[in-house]
Amino acid sequence: MRAQLRALFSSRRFTNLYLSAFAGLFLLGAFFAPGHNAQAGSEAGHGFVPFALFSDPRYSTLEVSALMAILGVAIAGLLYAALLARQVYAADTGTAKMQEIALAVREGANAYLAAQFKRVGPLIVIVTIVLFATYTGAESAFQWGRAGAFLIGALFSSTVGFVGMRLATAGNLRVAAAARHSYGEAMQLGYRTGTVTGMLTDGLGLLGGTIIFLIYGEQAYEALLGFGFGGTLLALFMRVGGGIYTKAADVGADLVGKIEQSIPEDDPRNAATIADNVGDNVGDCAGMAADIFESYEVTIVAAMILGMASFGHKGVIFPLLVRGIGVLGSILSTYTVKAGKGDTSDTALHSVHRGFWIGSVVSVVGFMALGFAYLRFDANYIATNPMVKAGFPNGDPAQLGVWANLGIVGLDMRPALTCLIGVVLAIVLNKVTSYFTHTKHEPVQSLARACQTGHATNIIQGFAVGYESTVATLMVIAGALFAAVLCYTGTPPMFVAYGVAMAGIGMLTLTGNTISMDVFGPVADNANGIGEMGYEPMEMEKAEPGSYKRARQILADLDAVGNTTKAETKGIAIGSAVIAAVSLFSSFIAVIAVGSEDNIRDMTIAQYLAEAGKMTVAEPIVFIGMLIGGAVPFLFSSMLIRAVGRAASQIVNECRLQFRDPKIVSGEKRPDYARVVNICTKTAQKELVGPGLLAIIIPMLVGFLLGPYAVGGFLAGMILVGQLLAVFMSNAGGAWDNAKKLIEDGVYGGKGSEAHKAAVTGDTVGDPLKDTAGPAINPLIKVMNMVSLLSLGLVLRYNVFLQPADAPATHRVVGILAAIVGIAVVSWAIWQSKRETGDGLGSTAGHSPSAK
């Protein structure tokens, strides 16, 4: 019985089921909660009436229809994803041997996600209850809504990750099978596999935001925050767990395979080979998809919240419409990505880039036209939404510059222009990332040159390139923020923040393309592995002379294209984190200004400016918060990098053990891949708890101990340092990786040379930076932002440092108790990250690979 229950709770389906049921319960609660009283609320001006906008005279029929159309577009995006998924599944699945390898990868990936859901599921339930129980406002519908939306956000995020990974593990086999016939077929299948995940992200993100707005209207603040937090928290776990898994498997496989046994990549004799391939899926597919999904969610949440507080409902509907256009742009442009029989990696890459450009043009033309038609602020609108006045010079739309109203009184193109800034930012960030990490450019070439003089010079040069790329990336982001700020010069900070949030919307307009490009990387990588392990050279040659060599070349070319596209998208992921965090920061100040999330609609500009003025580094408590915030990304990264090292050491020991069997070395016996997969799965799940808790607890701990202004400083420090560190780690790691590839392609001696050995060292150092710690900082920034916002009500009431003179003594006591619990949890997480296991690197003496 106990075993059956255990099996039941270990099942991913069961976890999904109980989380969905739980979400349903909370949503029902939002409608039918006993405390809900629309009439009473209406009198107070805050009552909640679900779907009120359908009967609200301020919303035109066109606007309501447009919202329904957005729902339709979101569903169209999902249907397009389903159509592409059918195409992928219908493709040829190759030989039995290829299927056997792909099945091992798929089973490993499924086992990982099942373990992930088993561990994260209960935590999600606990957080839901905490979110519900700690709501400090008066409206019970919001209390139920934020908890329910949190669950839905988490479920959507996990769905994106899970489906993305499932598709990737199906697509890799089919790409390997298609490569035996033609380049175009293989390329198209690989890209479309990624597009399924991309469109799922688009569709679910848009669906969630739109439904919440339809239900809650202008009172969607709490539900939107819950929705964003759900997606973000799941993404953090997917990123951290996937990052640890993928690099532990990769480093473990390389150390024993390439370094100790001198066997090549993807060699079936290496027990870690399957885990390495599984890692590509759980890290780069599931992790990245969930990460971008949460960026997609958080930017729309930030834009909608700030839109409501600045431009009224038009400020909310416009970003939703832009997203809808983005989905259409992605559908059109991803379908144009094709390759012919005679294509090469260069022409294929050109096709992918052309798709991105087509999507960009469609989106820009679409939202500029939409802005021209929709962003009209006439006297009637301003009368019903008086806060809008502050967004115009002297409160008069007629005084807006011609660059913004094109000479038409009442027209305000600034939201569309800031979207355009976002699109340009995405393109420029792609270019900057590409410049610092691509083999064609000087930074990577300088690393390859440095390899000629040894390991240390490669590492030194890598640091220099990484630091330089950080400056370049930050300057681009700062430039985009400045451009958005310029658009709203002279308006209150809330409007400026809306401009920044709209830049985030523009930046992720082509999420479908971005994720397609990213997921294509691991799919092509896995397909290459399946080709290596599963192709039968002699039989293929017998059937068609030259076919084996051609197919291997196609897979190698696709792998090269995938590496490039994957690297390019990392810039967007990091940039979007900063944009979302900066815009959410304004919401944070707004809540402090009015004391509660429920009152945010009543905030005056004077209140906002008064609170914003207190967030200064001249205030020591803010500065202390900033110092702590700046230190957290380092602590978080240290924990993740240690986790990779510990997990990798266990894998090394297991592989060494298996290599002692001469039949495995001779290829007569298959290694036990499942043992390594299990080690990776278990250690990744175990190791993600500490960093995950750190992300949730530290902002609250700072808040309870030092008060809300210190949290403001904390967020500023954390955003700045987190961004710098994330860019440095991603780009330095990417540059080291590609310097190795450049040498392997035949410079400075190629494979096996001394320069190659130095390049391998650089790549190994960069691996946990670029694929574990660096990418995990994106969701970390947003989780900490969200936690700060969601716990702000509690922090304002119970913090230890800044209690009003008339506050009950119990408030301070509660704050002290909360801080003690927080310190205990953080201390445990840090201790956990430092512990050495019995099978750690330090205890491997005597485990010589040759020992018998």
Binding site: S262, P264, D267, P537, G750, G752, S753, S850
Partner: protein
Amino acid sequence: MDTHLYLSCFRSEALIASHLDPESFGRYMAVGTHKLTRGAYLFFEVTKNLKTSFFKLSDLAERCKPHSDGRPRSSKYVSVYRVLEHVELNELGTLYLVSADGRTLGIDAKPYDTSKEEHGVNLYQQLCPLVPLIVSSQSPAQFGKFITNSQNAISVPRMLFADQLLDREEDGSLSGHLPYAERAHIEQCIRELADPEGKQTKTVSRNPNIMAFFRTIRRGFFVADPSGIKHYPFPSRESLEIEHAKWWRSVQFG
């Protein structure tokens, strides 16, 4: 149990009796023993009826017995000194090339057509009994004759050497795709050979660091002595990539 006789010629010279077939023996020498051979390993299968009396082979059957539990004997050393010089060219069978991870490729000797030799500089890696890396303007046959000529001040009775790729750019510098350890020195030695009054062979390194060795092989391996030269041609790139794909992939790194 059949007993094979193997001439281990790189990295150590020895005559070894074994019950293992060549593939298993190569794997055993590369990865199956505490005394690992790091990097490339080469050995010949030689006839059991060696003409020489230098080795004590009469009691070989007695010495090379299966283990008490019936397992085959992996290696029984017959000699570890001056082996190649006592094995005639016609007694050398297939040459086996073993990757660091234990994959074995066997290549057979073919008649060497000296008329097809090209003029120019060659890079020879001597493998047995000595191991210097040499640049030479001599063809393999000329070089073999030269190095085994007892009339010279310095010679060896018989020599195994490999002819390595020496790809150069238009400006004469070595191209980047091969792992030459002493790049600048090789280029310097090549320049010195250009002097018609100068030497025909020049030592690049006495103890070269051979990396990704099999990836650098050009025409193949040669065994030369005063009686002639035996050529073991290296398979074509296409054959390596298709027929010996696993071996070829394994030797890319080490």
